[in-house]
Symmetry: C2
Subunit: 409 residues, 2 copies
């Protein structure tokens, strides 16, 4: 299931960026499962990774290779991504396999091993099927193409339980020059960021220096992938990259960063929301807006407490305007000196809770009308300050249980 | 659904304690839903309540009445409990209704209003059906009986989505005297303590002074009701009482408290576990033992992170030895400087994880054999210190979703 329709957008080609995919038989026969993304020389790469203490072997190796590139002022040249196997919980063997995969692609492409960054997603704890992966590399490399359509094939080649590929693109003017930002992402379960539980690859043709690039990525992730949750589970493999190829004419600097920052935020938010719309078993796309908080941390605490409540999520699935469950979830959030009589809750445009109880004039009919929609906004005003946060989540359906009880993911 | 069989135990009568129930039509026709528990004069009462900021009206009033009794050195004489309606999120009206219920029972029984402590459980946000509740009070009072069988009827009269009444009893010798502890509890969803999301009423015939009674209750709750979770949701109405009637011959003092403390812990643990065995949709009873932690808080953090993981809970439902999900949940627990290479995980007697990955010699067949059982112990050794914690939880099944999507609870 998934909420709404979402056609993969047209992606403009980015000079020097080529994407290739193949069906290596890692996930299952007839599924694209191996992706190579070639970057032009001198591209800058910023990355954020999972904070899960059990991080996967490719996360460790991608970090090492990025550090090695930066130490020698070289640029990463290839991203190597497989689905069907996370290469997580695989100990020393997993690290060897991730390194050997990079080495083989580097050999085929004639670059240094450290120029290849590995990413994996899929089942945890099984050894990477190295024979099939290595055998698939020449075909993936040969398939590399700069055409816009190659982005969609790459989007398909990184999916796990997702039902559709997810992409976003923005082209904006910076001064006299056009800048394009293309992104693809995957993820539909084990989604509670920090970093966001997903893979995301975002590339722009602008030139951006490393420190600014890293700052832009961190800011954008904090308000996109780090603000979504399906099931509160943080994966071992999350990674999000922002690549600036510098192959376009535009240069983004700290002095004139606003236009780029906004466009990047739009791309990242669209990608993050696409994950929620395609969340495992999702029948609802839910926006939680918490306002008038004393701090952004407090706003996020309330939003995530509501977003993680199985009782709120099952009520959303049932289209049941069970506002008592929302109120109970708000009440158990870890907020110090919480005066709940000041809390105001709205469901869409319907006033739900005030003065510690049901709002005057609220009717079940009005609440049910909003809950019947497939896109729902819950607004929670805390009456404590001026800070705010927005979090996106999905409902908890029978299909979520089926997908995760039946599928070894 | 529920795990295993659980007959309600034989309860010895406690001198001076009488329990009465009736079908007042608050929950639905033909269901016991109103319970009165009469205590002898001079009983000592200790209580712990929900920490949810949106606490229900009866919680506020019970706290007020307890404080009033203690200020005037009087003892509470009646516990008044209804199911079918939580009287939560009901604002000023809810407080008036809770007070009026106590006043009417006090009038009928000829005691002061403050001597009645109210408790409610059921749907949040609907006004208490006062006409039916008040009309039911004389019948509940008339039905008061000291026989052991009255405990089972009271156990039935406090249930919501529970499928069976839950009771526990211990009789132990303290010096030359026998001491009995009887307890009943309810709760099967919205169960994540702090205080435990449930109602619990535990009564002993020993004489125990107020400060010691409160300490004993707090200690026992922290290792029983505060160590269970069904769905991470903390209710607005939780309450647990420990009553010492002093009508038996035994006196419990700080100097010779060990026997009583152990018996109380057994009763409370049995009651807390009974909630998990009867959790909404439960097909598994799961014990999470975390050992070798640097602190008890850290052990609890790891245990609850695993216990709340929807991916672990659906794997348990599917009897799938998906140890990668357990490892990923352990890895996202908030533990500082977490060296996961020291983590050891066992599933029953099967060695699952060591050195950051799957344990050598582990076989899928061995893991599956344990997962197929309906009572499962997961042991997680952190390799950081000497502290430990045990948490009990259930799985996440299709029935959990059905119960909470179809039932306005």
């Amino acid at each position: 299931m998934a909420v709404g329709n979402a056609d993969f957008p047209d992606m403009p080609p980015l000079q020097g960026v080529r994407l290739g995919t193949t069906m290596a038989g890692i996930k299952k026969a007839g599924r694209r499962d191996l992706v190579v993304i070639e970057l032009p020389d001198n591209a800058k790469v910023a990355a954020v990774f999972t904070r899960n203490a059990f991080c996967a072997a490719p996360v460790t190796v991608a970090r090492e290779h990025l550090a090695a590139c930066q130490a020698t002022s070289k640029a990463p040249r290839y991203l190597l991504i497989n689905t069907g196997n996370a290469n997580a919980g695989t100990g020393e063997t997993g690290l060897c396999d991730a390194r050997a995969s990079c080495a083989e692609l580097a050999r085929l492409a004639g670059v240094a091993s450290e120029s290849v960054l590995p990413f994996s997603t899929g089942v945890i704890g099984e050894p990477l099927p190295m024979e099939r992966l290595l055998a698939g590399l020449p075909a993936a490399l040969d398939a590399c193409d700069s055409a816009g359509a190659a982005w969609q094939l790459a989007g398909e080649g990184i999916l796990t339980t997702d039902t559709r590929p997810k992409g976003a693109s923005q082209t904006v003017a910076i001064g006299e020059h056009q800048v394009t930002i293309n992104g693809i992402t995957k993820g539909s379960g084990m989604i509670k960021p920090n970093m966001a539980t997903m893979l995301g690859f975002v590339v722009t043709d602008a030139a951006i220096e490393q420190p600014l690039l890293e700052q832009l990525l961190k800011e954008a992730v904090d308000r996109s992938f780090n603000c979504i949750t399906v099931d509160s589970d943080t994966s071992t493999n999350d990674a999000c990259l922002l690549v600036a190829t510098g192959t376009g004419a535009a240069v983004v600097t700290e002095e004139q960063v606003a236009v780029f920052r906004n466009a990047l935020q739009r791309v990242m938010t669209e990608l993050a929301q696409a994950i929620i719309r395609d969340a495992e078993g999702a029948t609802k796309f839910v926006t939680l807006q918490v306002t008038n908080a004393a701090s952004r941390e407090e706003a996020l605490e309330v939003a995530f407490t509501v977003a993680h409540s199985p009782l709120v999520k099952t009520a959303l699935y049932a289209s049941d305007a069970n506002w008592g469950r929302i109120l109970a979830a708000v009440g158990r959030a870890e907020v110090s000196n919480f005066d709940v009589s000041r809390v105001v809750i709205n469901l869409g445009n319907v006033h739900l809770v005030e003065n510690g109880g049901r709002a005057e004039g609220y009717t079940e009919a009005a609440g049910s009308e909003v809950m019947a929609r497939d896109e729902i906004t819950i607004h929670i005003g805390l009456g404590r300050g001026e800070e705010a946060a927005t979090v996106w989540t999905s409902d908890l359906s029978h299909d979520y249980v089926s997908i995760n009880a039946d599928y070894r993911s």
